[in-house]
């Protein structure tokens, strides 16, 4: 529990930086940091596989590409403008609404029994892989086809322009 609070005190400011910082590069790096902290939380919960996948896929691949795009487009830090402050007001409103909803749900679930511990090898590479490639094989293959379509689409679009 102590570890959770330490991580929470590091994660929440980092997550706020992602949204509030004017410089997109800092936002992206703060997001990397946030994802890494969440991965450590997974490790603390002994969910090692999810922790490593989180780092490999989000921190190591997706965020690198986002950072790459930000740098190639050389996005400048945002300047304050009336349009921006209207959007910010809307953002705070929606965020407050979501917070309220989350709080309501959390207080409703409060009386429920604590989650049952899974089987011993729950979340291990073997059990996840067995589940993924037997029970959930069709959704898995469909997802990969979806990704392939997106990939081919991106190549086609890039070809057409040049």
């Amino acid at each position: 529990m102590t570890l959770f609070w330490i991580l929470a005190f590091l994660t929440v400011p980092a997550a706020l930086t992602v949204v509030l910082h004017r410089n997109p590069v800092y936002s992206a790096l703060a997001l990397v940091f946030t994802l890494f902290q969440v991965a450590i939380m997974f490790v603390a919960l002994e969910a090692y596989l999810i922790a490593f996948l989180q780092v490999i896929i989000y921190a190591g691949a997706i965020l690198v590409l986002i950072l790459f795009a930000i740098m190639l487009l050389s996005l400048e830090p945002e300047e304050p403008s009336p349009e921006r402050s209207t959007m910010r007001a809307w953002g705070w409103g929606v965020a407050a609404l979501l917070m309220l909803e989350l709080g309501a749900v959390a207080s409703m679930e409060h009386g429920a029994s604590p989650a049952q511990a899974g089987p011993k090898d729950f979340g291990s590479v073997t059990s996840v892989a067995t589940e993924l490639f037997s029970t959930h094989l069709l959704p898995f293959e469909l997802t990969s086809i979806l990704l392939l379509v997106a990939l081919v689409g991106a190549v086609v679009l890039a070809r057409r322009r040049s």
Binding site: L29, F52, G60, V64, F68
Partner: protein, 368 residues
């Protein structure tokens, strides 16, 4: 006591990396001299030449780091001060911790304790390595961006493109290795290689997965961003690439990160393809040569031999990389991308497919 052992193992693994970077710095300077028919670094001495001879390896082992860390640290005014300071650390920290999962020996049984000679006894070793290596890109990107210079920026962008491109064949090469051994635990993989093939040949990964070895070695060298893959820091085009604006200790941290990466690639190749700490025909109670010729050895000596074997192999593959670095010219950028995407990637993919079929046919492993 357990805590003490763990602490000892972590310190030992960390020292391997730290010392190796310094030794490699010396080997690189002297080795390149050897290759280019020069004398190489020979000026360092203690107390201004009191000794009648120069101190050889002490040259760079002690003098170079001292010099590097005492140089003036110049930060460009237009740079992003915080990120400029932070980038070298992002580059090196994930690499330092990577070594923790590499086993440097079998279990050591002494005084009633059984010590697994692996700093972090993690059974998800390969995923851990992939996770940490994928974080190493940030040092290059952030360093290039924070310097606020065209050269640095171009170097950073090139570095990112190169590293994420070569991560894919590297990952696929690891997949075929995992398929062969059926585990992602480095210690288990090293242990499996202690068996014999046809009763005589040690069952090292190189005999099962030669293609994966080639792919992993090339991709690993590309990840370490050294010649012939040093496009991010190509001095004839980009001054020094992503660390043009770095000096003093920060620049040397970047340099150190390159050497640590060399050591990691060597450790991966050693552990996955050359038996890790295995000595051929050496078992827990001594040598058992084929043909019924046995030599019994105390368990402590066996452990020492294993660790020595690991270190020798590790060093050999570091040397091989330095040899390549001083022998081959730099690739052109399009050649680099072509090698990664059009050669290594299909090769690695075919290798994975063939391995999967072979495992299914020969091993009799069934799909649950």
């Amino acid at each position: 006591m357990e805590v003490l052992f763990t602490f000892g193992k972590v310190v030992f693994a960390f020292l391997i990396v730290l010392q190796l970077t310094l030794i490699l710095l010396w080997v690189e300077r002297k080795g390149s001299a050897l290759i280019q028919d020069r004398v190489g670094a020979n000026r360092a001495n203690i107390f201004g030449g009191v000794l009648p001879f120069n101190l050889g390896i002490v040259n760079t082992w002690m003098a170079d780091p001292l010099k590097l860390f005492h140089k003036e640290d110049i930060v460009p005014e237009a740079a992003d001060q915080f990120l400029h300071w932070f980038a070298p650390w992002i580059a090196i920290l994930p690499l330092f911790v990577t070594f923790a999962v590499i086993p440097f020996g079998d279990v050591l049984v002494a005084g009633g304790y059984t010590i697994n000679l692996q700093a972090a006894e993690l059974d998800l070793g390969i995923l851990y390595i992939l996770a940490m290596l994928s974080l190493a890109v940030y040092g290059v990107v952030v360093g290039g961006w924070a310097s606020n210079s065209r050269y640095s920026f171009l170097g950073g962008v090139r570095g990112t493109a190169q590293m994420i491109s070569y991560e894919i064949p590297m990952g696929l090469a690891l997949v075929s290795v995992v398929l062969t051994y059926g585990t992602i635990d480095f210690q288990q993989i090293a242990r499996d290689q202690g068996e014999l093939m046809f009763g005589i040949l040690p069952a090292w990964g190189v005999f099962y997965q030669p293609i994966a070895l080639v792919v992993l070695f090339i991709a690993g060298m590309a990840e370490s961003k050294r010649v012939p893959f040093d496009l991010p820091e190509a001095e004839s085009e980009l001054v020094a690439g992503f660390y043009t604006e770095y000096s003093g200790s920060k620049q040397s941290v970047f340099m150190m990160a390159d050497f640590v990466e060399v050591a990691i690639v060597a450790a991966l190749v050693t552990t996955l393809f050359f038996g890790g700490w295995q000595v051929p025909y050496l078992y827990r109670d001594g040598f058992q040569f084929p043909g019924g010729f046995d030599i019994a050895l105390p368990s402590l000596l066996v452990t020492v031999l294993q660790v020595a074997s690991f270190l020798v192999k590790l060093f050999l593959f570091c040397w091989l990389q330095i040899l390549v670095r001083w022998s081959l010219p730099r690739l052109r950028y399009d050649q680099l991308m072509e090698l990664g995407w059009k050669r290594l990637l299909p090769l690695a993919l075919i290798n994975v497919a063939v391995t999967a079929v072979m495992v299914l046919l020969l091993d009799g492993r069934t799909i649950p």
